[in-house]
């Protein structure tokens, strides 16, 4: 009986935990006869209730048995291995007490369930004792730190982690739970994976600590993209600001040669102010869509009608550039559930780009089709303009990307196509793309699902 309070293992149950605190380490580490002897006086059902409501200490004890505690448990310390060992123990008990066998099996199931639960986590979960030896390590620990790190009864897991982690484990155990540690570090693997490591006491008397290692590459990548966005945005904001400041000062200093030049400077100030405010609007629109704050109002949109209106609106600019702008194909069945103003914004943006990057005298055309197989409405804007080099295409719909040399032709915010992609893909479950050849021209197209169901499924 008393032998189950084997303090030398540093993990046995105590009065505070009652019977529930004792069992697994005890079952695995003490002679089978003693297990039977201990359990006999107890009522199995009451015991199960106690086990079910036990503190984490029990869970830990239940399946984090030290590897050296039982020859059958082997050296891996994995939960599944242990159930085999327990089965052996259970068999040995059987002749003495059938109820014990039932109980052991019940605990086994519980143990298997819990280790399966821990194995399902992406975070590495390692239980270590005050010597830094692993008592348990889940599947993710093996993936993250190497298979040898999961070997129970060794220090391989802590050795695979930066040295500060063992000190943290000792400090947390010494503090008896008043301290918990959070360490931001990198794994010493070839990729120097950024991780956050949490060290907490497990139970209050067992002198064990849980070490949870979380791979934060995705979070870091998101942070990096956010910083990159801020850096690029501030650069893009400063560019028109630089013009505003310079031309305003030139006017104030009387540096313009004549009335014509003064008017020219004022014109630049006006257009740069417009560019700045478009830039801010687009940044806000994209931010709203990406954060899921943007709400679209869906209605049945006749894309042929909408495209015709957009062509009319851009006709003035096209004529100024002597560009032939036409709606060359329309389809009366081109109806889809969409947000009309947003769809108009996309078509106008594609049209205005086509006009901007097509030399004077060129041609721009709009086509509206239906793809009955894919159940989409497809709008295409073709031009015989500059065309886009192949290497630029993958980045074209990104943020603040502009094709080299195109900047000389026309100014842009570098956000127009990204906003279009957000509207088409994120808000409508559609698709946007481009086919282009340098010196020949481009075809920008987008496809919108015809019905709500298709959109929702997207």
């Amino acid at each position: 009986m008393q032998s189950n309070n084997d303090q030398s293992k540093g993990s046995s149950g105590t009065a505070g935990n009652g019977r529930a605190g004792i069992p697994w380490i005890a079952l695995a580490s003490i002679p089978v006869a003693a297990v039977g002897g201990y359990l006999m006086p107890g009522d199995a059902a009451a015991w199960m209730v106690a086990a079910g409501s036990a503190a984490l200490t029990f869970c830990a004890a239940a399946f984090f048995a030290p590897a050296d505690s039982s020859p059958e448990s082997g050296a891996t310390g994995a939960g599944s291995e242990k159930s085999g060992a327990n089965a052996v123990a259970a068999k040995a008990i059987e002749p003495r007490e059938v109820a014990n066998d039932v109980l052991v099996r019940a605990i086994e199931v519980r143990s298997t369930e819990r280790s399966a639960l821990l194995d399902s986590l992406n975070d590495a979960v390692i239980l270590v004792d005050s010597h830094g030896e692993t008592r348990f390590a889940n599947h993710a620990a093996g993936v993250m730190l190497g298979e040898s790190a999961t070997q129970a009864g060794t220090r391989h897991a802590l050795e695979a982690l930066p040295s500060g982690v063992f000190r943290a484990v000792q400090a947390v155990i010494e503090s008896n739970g008043s301290e918990r540690r959070r360490i931001e570090t990198e794994l010493t693997n070839s990729e120097a994976t950024p991780v956050v490591i949490l060290v907490n006491l497990v139970g209050h008397t067992d002198r064990m600590a849980s070490v949870i290692v979380r791979d934060v590459r995705t979070e870091r990548e998101a942070d990096r993209m956010k910083s990159e966005f801020v850096a690029k945005a501030s650069h893009e904001l400063r560019t028109p600001l630089a013009s505003l400041r310079a031309y305003a000062e030139m006017l104030a200093d009387g540096e313009a040669e004549d009335e014509n030049q003064r008017r020219e400077f004022a014109g630049i100030i006006l257009s740069e102010t417009g560019r700045l405010s478009t830039l801010v609007d687009r940044m806000l629109d994209i931010g709203r869509i990406e954060s899921g704050m943007a709400r679209a109002t869906y209605e049945q949109v006749d894309f042929s009608d909408l495209a015709a209106k957009c062509v009319d609106e851009q006709q003035g600019e096209a004529q100024r550039r002597m560009i032939a702008l036409k709606l060359t194909r329309s389809d009366h069945g081109a109806l889809a559930s969409a947000d009309r103003p947003l769809m108009k914004q996309v078509i106008l943006n594609l049209l205005s780009n086509a006009i901007k990057y097509t030399p004077d005298g060129g041609e721009v055309s709009v086509e509206v089709d239906t793809d009955n197989l894919a159940r989409t409405v497809v709008v295409s804007v073709r031009d015989n303009g500059l065309g886009i080099p192949e290497h630029a295409i993958p980045r074209l719909f990104g943020k603040f990307y502009r094709v080299e040399n195109h900047e000389k032709f026309a100014k842009g915010t570098g956000l127009g196509l990204n906003l279009c992609r957000n509207i088409v893909e994120a808000m409508h479950g559609g698709q946007i793309g481009v086919d282009s050849k340098v010196g020949v021209g481009s075809r920008f197209w987008f496809a919108i699902p015809m019905d709500q169901a298709a959109r929702k499924a997207a």
């Binding site: 501030s234 650069h235 600001l241 310079a246 031309y247 030139m250 040399n405």
Partner: protein
């Protein structure tokens, strides 16, 4: 030796932003300098090799060849290595420690800048150079 007449001083200005290029060029021409303009580093380098210059004012971020690339190419060319470079940049922090020294970048001016202040910087740099000569 008397200070040279500003008319004989040639400044090459490089920026891919047409409005900035135009305003800097105008400010410097109004101040009496001979100004040559380029839209990127490569064009600037070509113009320097054929026409030479006493000072280069360049944007940092440009297609084909950046301002840093231009300054480095100048350092590597013995005919251009002594021409001081003034860098215009909206992102001063991208100019890492040592980069300015290694590539004969004499001054860095941040955008948005005042054309008046830019001119004052150019004049102070040129007079510094004259004193040193």
């Amino acid at each position: 030796m008397a200070a040279p007449d500003t008319n004989t001083i040639r400044i090459l200005v490089a920026d891919d932003e047409a409005y900035i290029l135009q305003v800097v060029a105008l400010k410097l021409r109004n101040a009496g300098y001979d100004v040559v303009t380029a839209f990127d580093g490569q064009e600037a380098l070509g113009l320097l090799q054929t026409h030479g210059a006493d000072l280069v004012v360049t944007d940092l971020q440009m297609p084909h060849m950046t301002g840093i690339g231009l300054a480095r190419a100048m350092s590597a060319d013995p005919r251009l290595a002594n021409i001081p470079v003034m860098m215009l940049t909206a992102r001063g922090h991208l100019l890492r420690e040592g980069e300015a020294d290694s590539a004969n970048i004499a001054r860095v001016v941040h955008k948005p800048f005042s054309p008046r202040a830019l001119l004052a910087e150019i004049e102070s740099l040129l007079s510094e150079r004259r004193r040193a000569a």
